[in-house]
Symmetry: C2
Subunit: 597 residues, 2 copies
């Protein structure tokens, strides 16, 4: 977005005032990650996002990628920006020093990824996919594979992808057909076609390292017969240099609703040389390691879009004059800035509540990832993993679903001008529309949350989180209105448990009850989760004001937005509770031939 | 949409089984409008929509309109389709025979307009705007003006526009600046620039007749100083033939999110010759006549998009296989059609409930327009106008807001494929995004409903409608579940009144309470209004089944969808009720400088 400003102040608030990242980093041994250093890194990242990425966002949308006989050209400025990104050392930030990384925390590189995505979602896809590829090789590759592929990937000289989807299978990977045949030298020959491969082919990097799901000969059917392979675009010598071209080609790129600057490719493997990562037939398990982190990243994209939409709408609302306010102005101007109108404020506050509530939840998850990766205490690691298991589908789906509303309001606040391309608001809505689809649709996240995580753990994962919230509320000792919100939230904790028990007992006799309740259950969970973070943000802000902080607008804004959230958005949870309780019958009793009018 | 099929069966159901259009037309003296004739016209309209308009919908999106030195070229096929439209006699259907029309009811031409819009929203804008221009001249023009302009407009040889918006004023027309200077010959010279003029310039017709809002010299400021003018692109001789070019030029066209085949123009008037319509300074009042009908038309566009999204998603859900159903299939296939999954059904049923509920509400409104235009009873006319006054903002805003959700589900059911252009689902979402913006945003409709209509009539307009619904429920004598839904609906009628009284009393002391409650009030009104029509549709379907109707799928589908609506969608009204009751404080107490993070 043209005038995007990376929200550094709020990032600092969430990291250091809300979640005390200083102690957090100290505890994990990141002694070099001082608040000053983190702030300096955020400032540099913000400059890159605001001054380099944002100005090429609109042109990226207009030009899109172009495909010509297997090669993909990214829009004007994308390559130069990527070079600056590499020169700035951004790709290596949170990777191990052993492979050329800087050894900084995951939460640091991920939090600045918000700025990149907010400034230019399409561009940010390229480094984002590389990070997924790197994480997978780091977690599951052999030492030799790491030595061969990681240094250039971590440096950013090479880029990476994740190749999962095929034409006939997206959500249901058990159906995939791509084949891998073992060669005598220990490598494999892969044959098949993958679709929807983001960053599958482009002109930004010297090589592209694909991480590919495929089946070995005689592998079991379904998800238990899928293995994971490294398949580079150019073969790589043992000492990690580019060699001859591998049999990997881009067949075409998709024409999409948005993120036009991001190449979405059909990738053909034609006896392409690859290397097995992890154990045979355990590819999906290896993939899930990556997917959980990728899902937090997708949630972050949604939140970044909500923030960008708020910024655009707020500027317009403070500039555009239309109608008089009956109460807010005493002047004689023929019309006032539209921010005086209650319904415009309702839209702006919804955007703010979603963007900043989403930031809080995302940072909380990043903090848990740090702990799960670096804590010396097995118990703390397990607790962090338990929290992440529960919250990952929420952060992915709820932050992207709310982004649909926030970016739609970005258009709506602009009126007809929002529908016109030049203002960038409609691009935000188009770009962010992908985020409820890829990395697992909202429906898939909802089944993961309710089925695998909540009921799959017999409620254990949920109880851990509810206990955290209840403990917070019980220990709370503050002023109204926060005390009142605490009481409200306690009531929701009870309802959350009740709804869970209700669905659990229904689903025990009819498995369709699970899918019938799942999306409403997820949305309910999102609203009450946000309530927890909004309560904490308001309380933190109150404390700062009581301590005499001078940024009264900032802190008072937090308290007011929390109020708006509790009074105006949280009640939406009751519609979702009703959806959870409605049961499967009204969905399943209608015959398939009765849908058509 | 490529595979769009005009929903003729449901149109017949709504018109003849639900609302008894046969008696309705008989009562109004449309003796020639027999059910057979209406059905034949619908069939022909459906052929035109499905076979001519739908196939050029996607190419219209891809090519868009092109602008070159003042001329606008529409996409390939648009002009030929328009010629067929004119040759088919479609433009003249519901206009007076005196001016070359066919004298058929408004509801007939409007109901088939759904098909055109569902097949090709962008194309349908051109005839749609002409209808607005014709209605305005019919209602407010002099006999001489009618004789000069109407025959060619009604024939379709000429097209028309409505020129309201200027760069600095959209919703708030009181700010407009375009000037009209009287000439000695009784005509006027108009100078100024209008923006967002749909169909403002194109290559479909021999002339374009603009209806323009402008200010006379020394006119009062604000809305009371606006007059309405006819300003043709080519001057017109007294006997209605095209003469020399008028000083009306197209300055540019907008690049938009969607409806790319519809030219959205900047129109410059440079001492252009025009003719006053209606009384001086009463232009806005003349405009409102047209706007109410145009708002029903916009609601219809939303409903048509919901229908098209349902059609696409349903086809895909019956074809695409992914995952096994735990309960719906006993086969050994590796995966089932995704329509077996409860959450896919939730999305499809939401689309169906919105599309068909919207059709019922839209037809009800059309019926009222027929009565208001043609009834011989002043009392019945007044009742129809009272109903329309209340329902117009609901049909406009609720059918377009629900279309956002329905078209988004169109994408979502397709997964990643929904985001790709070739399937047409993302185009539907982009095209229909305009509909909550133009003809008055949702916020403007909500203020119209709550402020002007409900509170402005001291609750009278609402009471008339609530009485209709309550009378229906009280007289109801049917089976469960309809009896149960009746009771539910009665409860909502009480809540609707209570919410109204609540806002009314709040707003009496603080006018911001009105804007704070308005959009939630409108959405609440939409859900309970739909409940009424879904109850009636279910009851009608039950009766048909009891009478031995053979189309059991069709009728049973109505009953099942009503059930879904009552169990799953109607509870959303409670979130909106909470929004209405939340009050203005949480919106207004935050300082303007506190919005930014």
């Amino acid at each position: 977005m043209e005038n995007y400003q990376s929200p550094q102040r709020d990032a600092q608030f969430v990291a250091y005032e809300l979640f005390d990242f200083q102690s957090h980093y100290d505890r994990l041994g990141f002694s070099e990650a001082s608040q000053d250093l983190v702030k300096a890194i955020h400032t540099e990242a913000a400059k890159f996002a605001d001054n380099i990425l944002a100005p090429i966002n609109q042109i990226g949308d207009q030009q899109g990628c172009t495909f010509d006989e297997g090669t993909v050209t990214t829009p004007k400025g994308f390559k130069e920006a990527y070079q600056q990104y590499v020169e700035g050392g951004w790709p290596s930030m949170s990777h191990p020093e052993k492979w050329g990384g800087q050894g900084l925390p995951y939460s640091l590189s991920t939090s600045i990824a918000e700025y990149f995505s907010g400034a230019n979602h399409a561009w940010a896809m390229y480094p984002g996919l590389s990070q997924g590829c790197i994480s997978t090789i780091l977690s599951h590759g052999t030492e030799e594979q790491k030595a061969r592929f990681l240094p250039k990937l971590i440096e950013g000289q090479w880029a990476g992808t994740m190749c999962l989807t095929e034409a006939h299978c997206g959500s249901d990977l058990g159906l995939l057909r791509c084949k891998a045949k073992p060669n005598e030298d220990g490598s494999y020959s892969l044959t098949g076609t993958k679709i929807f491969i983001s960053a599958g082919e482009h002109d930004l990097a010297d090589n592209i390292v694909h991480v590919v799901l495929a089946r070995l000969p005689d592998a079991p059917a379904g998800t238990k017969g899928i293995s994971l392979f490294i398949v580079p675009k150019f073969n790589v010598t043992e000492d990690g240099e580019v060699a001859d071209r591998n049999q990997v080609t881009c067949g075409s790129i998709e024409h999409k609703m948005g993120i036009n600057g991001s190449a979405t490719c059909v990738i053909n493997f034609d006896n392409a040389k690859g290397f097995l990562i992890g154990a045979e037939n355990r590819g999906l398990n290896c993939m899930f390691t990556f997917m959980n982190v990728a899902r937090i990243g997708t949630g972050l994209e949604g939140m970044a879009a909500s923030e960008a939409a708020l910024q655009g709408a707020l500027r317009y609302a403070q500039d555009r004059v239309q109608f008089r306010s009956p109460t807010q102005r005493d002047g004689t101007a023929p019309a006032d800035e539209i921010i005086v109108h209650p319904d415009v404020r309702r839209m702006l506050l919804t955007q703010k509540a979603f963007a900043e509530g989403g930031r809080a939840l995302a940072y909380y998850c990043m903090q848990q990832v740090d702990v799960s990766q670096h804590s010396e205490s097995a118990e703390k690691q397990q607790l962090a993993e338990a929290r992440l298991a529960l919250l990952t589908p929420i952060v992915k789906a709820f932050l992207t679903e709310t982004a649909q509303e926030a970016t739609s309001y970005g258009i709506q606040v602009f009126g007809g001008h929002g529908y016109v391309r030049e203002w960038g608001m409609e691009q935000l809505a188009r770009d962010t529309r992908i985020s409820t689809l890829y990395e697992g649709t909202t429906g898939i996240q909802a089944l993961d949350l309710l089925g695998r995580k909540v009921l799959g753990s017999n409620g254990e994962l949920l109880s851990v989180y509810i206990k955290e919230i209840s403990d917070y509320c019980e220990a709370f000792n503050g002023d109204v209105p926060q005390q009142h919100w605490c009481d409200t939230l306690q009531g929701y904790m009870q309802q959350w448990q009740e709804l869970t028990h209700h669905v659990g007992s229904q689903a025990a006799t009819n498995p369709d009850e699970l899918g019938a309740a799942s999306v409403d259950y997820l949305m309910y969970s999102g609203y009450v989760t946000f309530a927890y973070y909004w309560l904490r943000m308001a309380t933190t802000a109150s404390t700062k004001l009581a301590e005499g902080a001078t940024e009264t607008d900032f802190y008072q804004g937090k308290i007011e937005t929390a109020r708006f959230f509790f009074e105006r958005l949280l009640p939406r949870s009751q519609s979702h509770a009703a959806g959870v309780k409605a049961g499967a019958a009204s969905l399943m009793s209608i015959g398939e031939s009765m849908f058509k009018a």
